[in-house]
Amino acid sequence: MYAQMIKSTGQGVKSLDEMEPQERAFQERIDANGKIEPKDWMPDGYRKNLIRQIGQHAHSEIVGQLPEGNWITRAPTLERKAILLAKVQDEAGHGLYLYCAAETLGITRDEMFEALHEGRMKYSSIFNYPTLTWADMGAVGWLVDGAAIMNQVPLQRTSYGPYARAMVRICKEESFHQRQGFDIMMKMCNGTDAQKKMAQDALNRFWYPSLMMFGPSDKDSVHSAQSMAWKIKMNTNDELRQKFVDQTVPQAEYLGLTVPDETLKWNDEKGGYDFAEPDWNEFFDVLSGNGPCNHDRLETRKQAWEDGAWVRDGMLAHAAKKRAAKMAAE
């Protein structure tokens, strides 16, 4: 998802009997759906995993602005432009809520930025695909934000208080993102043949990358089992992917678009669709830096940070000057 391939630092899941009293009390609190707050005792693994997971999620929100920011100046109407601008501003906000949540665990935002810029922290694979046409703005909102919501709604119940609270705010705002995307798709599907073709092309390109957002199957993964015991992961990747497909296929049908999967078929027995897995080699390749836009995204992000340095420094200097003037006057 926005935090893909987070490997836990725990050594597999311990039973309550194997834990020292402190860790046992911690786990029992989580088992009883209690919240862990910043100053509470927590195992090192829990803290480290959360920093990686929340940090990666935050980076995804920030880098996720880039494929859409690309279209702000090219939106077809003033209204669409204003809507897209508001959506991209929301993504910046979501990144900030999440950096704050991660900072309560003892890392600073600037340290996380450095880790992102140096490639030590990742962001979601989905943002390494290009947005080639206006219909891609529709597909991104509908599919990418749709997949994100699938993952984020259960995380509102995650065990770490600041993370859960950030997620509540984010979920409230995210459904506007998905709807505006679907609205773009509806408009295009009711438009000219060329527009409808463009919408189909966007679905063709974003379908499998969207399925990849949930990460590879993790039903047998010890890392996932640990994260689920800690309630920083609430569902398996496969569960969420299935839910996403079941929800999205009827929406594609409504639009009159064809999901690019010949094997896609309703399975009465499981009450869900059977569908083709994405190409996981492509996923690992994109995640390790070889996607179509990895280089471009990271360079743009670093450039923005470096170009903003004089503003950050200037404002600190100005604040110091004002403080000194105020003290002199007192």
Binding site: G93, C100, E103, T108, E173, R312, L316, A319
Partner: protein, 99 residues
């Protein structure tokens, strides 16, 4: 919540917002800003994009003092055995009506 200070890093502020309906200011999150004035401006953009509030407080995170999680029992247990502090402890006969 105190952060290790590094050079060039903007300080952390905690943000409190009063909602529309006359309730108290409530903690909504935190943000970085060079000073309090900018913190209020940033809080407006980060935390009130949808009319969430009518008033903003910002406080430097360093200035907040909090109770320790370990003191929970000492602080709150004494309230547990004083059920008579709640009105439902007392039976009011039906004949008396609403009280």
């Amino acid at each position: 919540m105190t952060q290790p200070k590094r050079t060039g890093e903007w300080p952390l502020f905690e943000v409190f917002i009063r909602g529309q309906h006359g309730l108290s200011h409530r903690h909504v999150g935190s943000l970085h800003a060079p000073d309090a004035e900018m913190a209020i401006k940033n809080a407006r953009d980060v935390y009130t994009r949808r009319n969430e509030g009518v008033s903003i407080w910002v406080v430097e995170a360093e200035a907040i003092h909090a109770s320790a999680p370990g003191d929970k029992e000492a602080l709150y247990d004494p309230a547990n055995d004083k059920v008579y502090r709640h009105p439902t402890f007392f039976d009011v006969p039906d004949e008396v009506g609403h009280m």
